[in-house]
Symmetry: C2
Subunit: 376 residues, 2 copies
């Protein structure tokens, strides 16, 4: 057995052709294409095709991929009936994890892992998860559900189902860029979870259900809620500096800063920053952006030397808020996007699988007798 | 970054005080007590206390633990109403994964991870999972559900809910020993999954839901079904030798043999072998045991030199069959038991947490341009 590295830091657990990260330089590429290029030119659907096939699609391949996805926006009737029965107090991530798991009960071949079947299941989840989130949110707000519109792309359709009206092009594009930038990121915890689970040759539903559960945690996807809560705690732009300095003095964490992998500014944060500014201006939330930017300036002055920079959560919070999303839907948005990455990693793992079965270092006692209960 | 070890073989991913395995010598201990001692003297409830507290309980502690567990046999009404709605064609492991996830929707504080709350959630799952499995099985058989009996221990209550009549003491004891021997086993894939998921500080429901999904796979808990299928393929004891030799010649896998960790006879198989023989004799299944034993003898002669020995699945299949369990409930039985281990590892991980975030080795292209779609 090798050495024990807590949290597997520094251990290489898989090979991938999907995303490349240079944490020192602040580089993120999907299949070799810089994330900035994709954010500027691509769409979420095309990006998912890229991740699943490790190349960009031709026109006809992209049309076919979009067609397959859009056919799956609608929920099977058993699942659709479930949405209004879910307690309105349920937290969306627990709800989403449960309903992705439940999709398997309506799949006549839930366990098939051959490449075609695995992609079909991945497409089911990618297509249906937005519908689940939007319809649940409508139900808990006491509003009628809005059926998906297969003439719309992934992002426009989601915003339409959520708000009951067609989104503006600017909103759709902003949301799509959030989806593109969150889709894959090496062996983050939830992606690693998905690969570990599929390595028993279980199934795509089991793997992605597990990943949603991982993403929920505040040390992972749950962090974007924390950024918004922090922004809400700061009364105005003028208070941002004192707030940050106070936190630093008390050695408290500033939400949305620092990353295990990046020791430079997260390239996703760079993309989202410009987006957040534009959206904030468009939607009368300029103050929110200005607060964020003020925090970043103080942090840069105080702790950038320690390699602590804004991460992906920092500006995605402002973006999601400006789109009109409620706080507890921030992490589910991360999930909708990351389904693309999770499914790609599951497909990749299945193509050259080996069961994940690490060792544990036993640090307890040995040779203990079973002492009868009367003598304890 | 270190070297890439596929499947994390040889990598130590966590420290534990729960189980110790010596694969060369065929030793398994829970908190230092040999598994044979526990199988002979302990009960499943006491074993779970041992795993969660890393010591055996006093009389009054054990009574209190059993009381807490038995209070939780009954399902919350929202969950109880769900059981008859589940498609009768649903596979039990997909169903169980979904309903453990769903428990979180009826917990008013699903995300609390302090030690007391984490134990409370673990106890909920340990208490309710058997009820879910038994009631689902009754419903799909068209039989009325049997409410749990809190005067009965874990194993007797489960068999009572499943069959609608109180089990014999011999049945109860056999089932309890299966539960004891399957409860924990180092960083097997599902336990590792549970630790990875809780390390984002998500929650006990997310972690155990993920673990059920991992256990489903045929390379993990799903293997015990394969043993039974193999036994059914062999017409009689006299055919066992030819069957095994034929498989070996065609280089096919013999189900229930070999283990990544053990290069000697799995100590759990030793315990279950005697149990399987007794139960098979008691229930008129002597042939089934004899077939298993004949397979083991041929395998010992042919491949023991390569370190291929019976694993835990080999004799648990006969045991579960003799108890009257249908094939697709074998893996859920593994889950009911392993909930004890998973929850113990979650508690242990929370007590000294570090986010699991390994690295990936990127093996794809770099510096790729985004080629406009018309030019692809």
């Amino acid at each position: 057995m090798g050495e024990f590295s807590k949290g597997l830091e520094g251990v290489i657990a898989a090979e991938t052709e999907m995303s490349f990260i240079d944490g020192q330089k602040g580089v993120l590429e999907y299949v070799g294409i810089p994330i900035g290029e994709l954010a500027t030119h691509s769409t979420f659907e095309e990006t998912v095709f890229l991740l699943w096939n490790r190349r960009l699609p031709t026109s006809s391949e992209l049309e076919s991929f979009k067609g397959e996805l859009r056919k799956r926006y609608a929920l099977p009737s058993g699942l659709a009936r479930r949405i209004p029965e879910i307690p309105t107090t349920a937290q969306p991530m627990h709800m989403l994890r449960t309903l992705i798991s439940e999709m398997s009960l309506y799949d006549t071949h839930p366990n098939d892992n051959d490449p075609e079947q695995a992609r079909r299941k991945a497409m089911n989840i990618l297509g249906q998860a937005p519908t689940i989130v939007a319809q649940f949110d409508r139900c808990r707000r006491g509003l009628p559900v809005v059926e998906p519109d297969p003439s719309l792309g992934f992002s426009a359709n989601f915003l339409y189902m959520l708000n009951g009206e067609k989104p503006t092009d600017a909103m759709t594009r902003a949301f799509d860029i959030c989806m593109i930038t969150h889709a894959d990121h090496g062996l983050n915890n939830s992606t690693f979870t998905a690969r570990v689970v599929i390595s028993t040759l279980s199934d795509v539903y089991s793997a992605l259900t597990a990943a949603v559960g991982s993403l929920r945690g505040p040390l992972h996807g749950g962090a974007n809620e924390g950024v918004m809560k922090m922004l809400n705690e700061i009364p105005s732009v003028a208070d941002a500096e004192a707030y940050v300095l106070g936190k630093l003095e008390r050695k408290e964490k500033i939400m949305g800063f620092g990353h295990r992998v990046y020791k430079a500014k997260d390239p996703r944060a760079k993309e989202l920053m410009a987006l957040a500014k534009q959206l904030a201006d468009d939607t009368g939330n300029t103050d929110l952006y200005e607060k964020s930017h003020a925090i970043e300036r103080v942090m840069e002055r105080e702790v950038a030397a320690k390699g602590i920079y804004p991460n992906v959560d920092f500006y995605s919070a402002t973006t999601y808020h400006c789109i009109g999303l409620k706080l507890d839907l921030f992490t589910p948005m991360f999930a909708l996007s990351r389904i693309g990455g999770w499914a790609g990693h599951v497909i990749e793992q299945l193509s050259d699988n080996r069961l994940f079965r690490p060792g544990a270092k036993y640090v307890g006692p040995h040779d203990q007798p079973y002492v009868p209960i009367a003598q304890r």
